[in-house]
Amino acid sequence: MSSQNIINPSTSKPTGLKAGYNPSLGPIQLPSSYQSQIASKSRNIYDHSVFRRTPEVNLSSLSFLFSAMIEQTQQTSKGVQQLEAKLNSYGYGVGNKFLELITLREGKSAKRETRIVEVLQFIHSQVWKTLFGRPADGLEKSQDSEDEYMIIDNLPLMSQFISVPKDFNQLNVNAFTAGIIEGILDSAYFQANVSAHTMAADGYPLRTVFLIKFDHGVLEREAIRFSR
């Protein structure tokens, strides 16, 4: 692509003009030759349908990938806390995007969540079903504090093969999933911090509680917007 040949009258910069939106230039009318060049590209991601149900991923592949991710993250982390924070941040980006994908796939019945309880139910059911093939096992409100809720999973899919050694004090690798939840909540404007805690129950040694702590502002908004 010889972008040097193109002279653009509206900018003082003669070089560096590329097709595609450039936020520091704003919308520019490109010569049609550009358009045909782009159009002629054989493959582009925008022609794929997002509705095409990709075959389910093999759990083993997922587990190995997840395991490798944890292993590598652990090597670059200073402690359990940092490891969890990093796993959380990996999930976070997934959550940001996943929310949009789920909503899009709902098609005509797509909607946005505006209330705290509704967004939690959405995560508990739709999100869990899409990610893990079944709804979560519980959704509870904290008795102690106004801003805390809990989503409970008796056997988290991602961590079902993982035993955390005793010296990894309190680590729960579902921090990744917590990150996904946090990513969903934040981008839906339900600012929160989400953490994963192991709380074994009879027959469920890996039972995990996802503790969701909402930003104070979210509660304030709920009170102002929906009190009447």
Binding site: T54, N58, S60, S61, F64
Partner: protein
């Protein structure tokens, strides 16, 4: 990262499929494509481009689930330097090494870069005979 996955993944593969040792590298190719890729990625790459000595072949990956919706950044470098699905290289290398096959694995083309196909090449260097566990012959 791929390598460390590979050396672990092979155990899963063997334990779950009960696959035995291959008679030939051709058979190995078949197992990789029709069982390995099928199980783990649910695709069956085409085996092609065998060299005459039977030690090198290519896997053509039609629909790469790893690269679905991936668009390489238009930064002038990625198109030349990045093999997006390079994790596969490590996995294959690690896994094969565990069954005593020293193999070079590398991408030669990728549709992400605008190539017509995504082609992964495997070249057998040698069989690590010394490492074949005793009691296997």
């Amino acid at each position: 990262m791929g390598y460390s996955i590979g050396i672990r993944l092979i155990e899963d593969f063997l334990a779950k499929t009960g696959t035995g040792r291959c008679v030939s590298f051709k058979e190995t190719a078949e197992v990789i494509s029709k069982i390995g890729f099928k199980i783990f990625l649910n695709i069956i790459p085409t085996i092609t481009n065998w060299t005459s000595d039977g030690k090198t072949f290519s896997l053509i990956i039609e629909e790469n689930p790893l690269a679905e919706f991936v668009e390489l950044p238009d930064d002038g470098k990625s198109n030349k330097e990045l093999w997006y699905s390079n994790v596969l290289v490590g996995v294959l290398k690690g896994a094969l090494e565990m069954v005593q096959l020293d193999v070079d694995v590398f991408f030669v083309s990728d549709v992400l870069r605008g190539d017509a196909t995504t082609e992964l090449r495997l070249k057998l260097n040698k069989i690590l005979k010394d490492e074949i566990p005793a009691g296997e012959d």
